[in-house]
Symmetry: C2
Subunit: 337 residues, 2 copies
């Protein structure tokens, strides 16, 4: 209940701040460029609307954390925009790198305007994230701005690390579960961790509390990704909306797959023979489960969830925002889709 109530007031503020940041390109010379960004953000073009914008989880995490530190969240809204712009910059470049033609049911930027423009759109969103975090100077001391920006920049390097690992894993056959964590630490956990860390910095709590919020975000990110990996192989198609075994078809080296490969059993044997076909995914998912990979992955998900909840308890979030933060964490971790 707290989450819905707070979300209803925070989301419009986030959206309007994002629009204000992106409007830096809303000038006569660069109107078509501006349009590429507003399209990607889900505001304009075919299929624009709330399905196209995404859920804005990351900026919500920033604002809920700031509020849970018993400070006003309104001044933190440019930091919230900054993390969402980082997320979207990485999506635009990801789509090019993965050759993905669709995102949230719509054509990707590069598909419409070409790869060179797509790279430039990602770059512009990245620049705007830097500008947005600097805008904190309107409301916070310069020392605080430098701290928040440093966290954001370090996180962005983690994103490139995760992206590098993800791309390099595609062609590697010597991987075990130990290779999984550094990749998703960069690709998924780093930015969620930064959201809570930055929120806590702006909330003015001491360093030990900042650390606790940071660990909370990190663990939520890991738990979220592990859960995503489970759904990608054993999810209920009618709920997730995508083929349950699509990760197997795509050859994605998710945690269950890496676990299965390390077992060297029937799953590993089949995997080594080349791409999985759609008529065998259902059976293969069962083989993988029978070799203990479902059990193992679920156990990891539980561990990360415990870690997240322990960290949140240590952070000791206050009031309605604290409750909302707990609700959001549960939603992210225990989701079925």
């Amino acid at each position: 209940m707290s989450l819905k109530k707070l979300t209803d007031t925070m989301l419009p503020a986030i959206e309007s701040e994002l629009q204000r940041q992106v409007a830096r390109l809303d000038e006569p010379h660069t109107l078509p460029f501006h349009e590429m960004l507003t399209y990607h953000m889900g505001w304009t073009g075919n299929g624009a609307g709330s399905d196209a914008t995404g859920k804005r989880i990351r900026p919500l995490l920033v604002l809920l954390t700031t509020a849970a530190c018993e400070t006003g969240w309104l001044h933190a809204v440019s930091a919230a925009a900054a993390v969402e712009l980082v997320h979207n910059f990485s999506l635009v470049h990801d789509d090019i790198q993965d050759n993905s033609e669709k995102r949230r049911g719509r054509k990707t930027v590069w598909t419409i305007w070409g790869m060179p423009m797509g790279i430039n759109v990602g770059d512009a969103l990245f620049v705007m994230s830097n500008q947005a975090i600097m805008d904190l100077i309107e409301h916070y001391p310069a020392e605080t701005v430098v701290k928040a920006a440093t966290v954001l920049h370090n996180t962005c390097l983690d994103l490139t690390r995760g992206q590098f690992l993800d791309m390099s894993y595609e062609t590697r056959n010597d991987l075990g579960v130990e290779n999984y964590w550094p990749m998703i630490a960069g690709k998924t956990a780093a930015l969620l961790s930064a959201c809570c860390h930055i929120g806590a910095i702006l909330g003015g709590v001491d360093e030990s509390k900042q650390d606790a919020y940071r660990s909370f975000g990190h663990a939520v990110g890991l738990a979220f990704q592990v859960q995503d990996d489970i759904l990608g192989i054993w999810g209920d198609e009618s709920i997730t909306g995508k083929s349950a075994a699509s990760d197997l078809l795509e050859g994605k080296k998710s945690l269950p797959v890496l676990h299965g490969l390390s077992k060297g059993g029937k799953f590993a044997e089949r995997w080594a023979k080349g791409p999985i076909q759609s008529d065998e995914v259902e059976d293969l998912a069962q083989v993988l489960a029978s070799e203990g990979s479902y059990e193992y992955t679920h156990g990891m998900s539980r561990q990360m969830t415990t870690l997240a909840l322990d960290s949140l308890r240590e952070a000791d979030p206050q009031g309605e925002a604290g409750e909302a933060l707990m609700e959001l964490a549960n939603k992210l971790i225990n989701r079925e889709q």
Copy 2:
């Protein structure tokens, strides 16, 4: 003489700071990623060495400006690294966008490691520029760091604007000389302007002096680009090392070309008929000159040069660094290659 003397002490400091920044990826998990960056920076791989690193003009401009404000330049070295990292990020992405296979005589990053990795290398260099500018906090008050970073970020958005215009001009046939300036303001002048502006901020001079340094850098950038356009059509091949009329062959919408097109004479007539062939470039360059485009472009170059020197006089740079700054400006503007 002052330039050579100062350059000899500044360049090693710049190079070692750049290596320190890039070493953030020098970790077991990301060694091949680190190697992609050190290759691009000119330190490792085939053809590594001073020909491969480029001249480091931009970081030199930062340090010379700081020193010309009568403050020590050593503490400004991370800002110098930041502008060079921005420059290199844009080169890596440019090479992908332009489909360029060679840079400074070596294979480009994407040619060796593929387009997806190439995008990620550019992104990482960009992140490191942000981290480098934040490192100023070790030596400057947080307010100064925020000011310098804000200038850098605004400049990066200008770069994406210039890149957008450049790419969109490729397919446009309605362009005149008035379309030239906003493009090169973003692509070339913005970063040179930022170098001098940031140098002046770190040099602690008042805002009117900061403005003068900023204008100086901007005008040097414009003059440099206009000069580059002249050399690209009427340059002496034996000096520039590239075919003098290569800009005509490539169909580049440089200032002389835009001027020629606006005249609607023989040059414009030929241009409208499709790509220029190598056996006609020499004649066509003469046609363009006879229609007044050489005269016009040279006049613009002189105007920008005057603007640059007036601004520098207003900035009133001091001592040996002041002399060196004047020398560097003359070198950039009056070069033959």
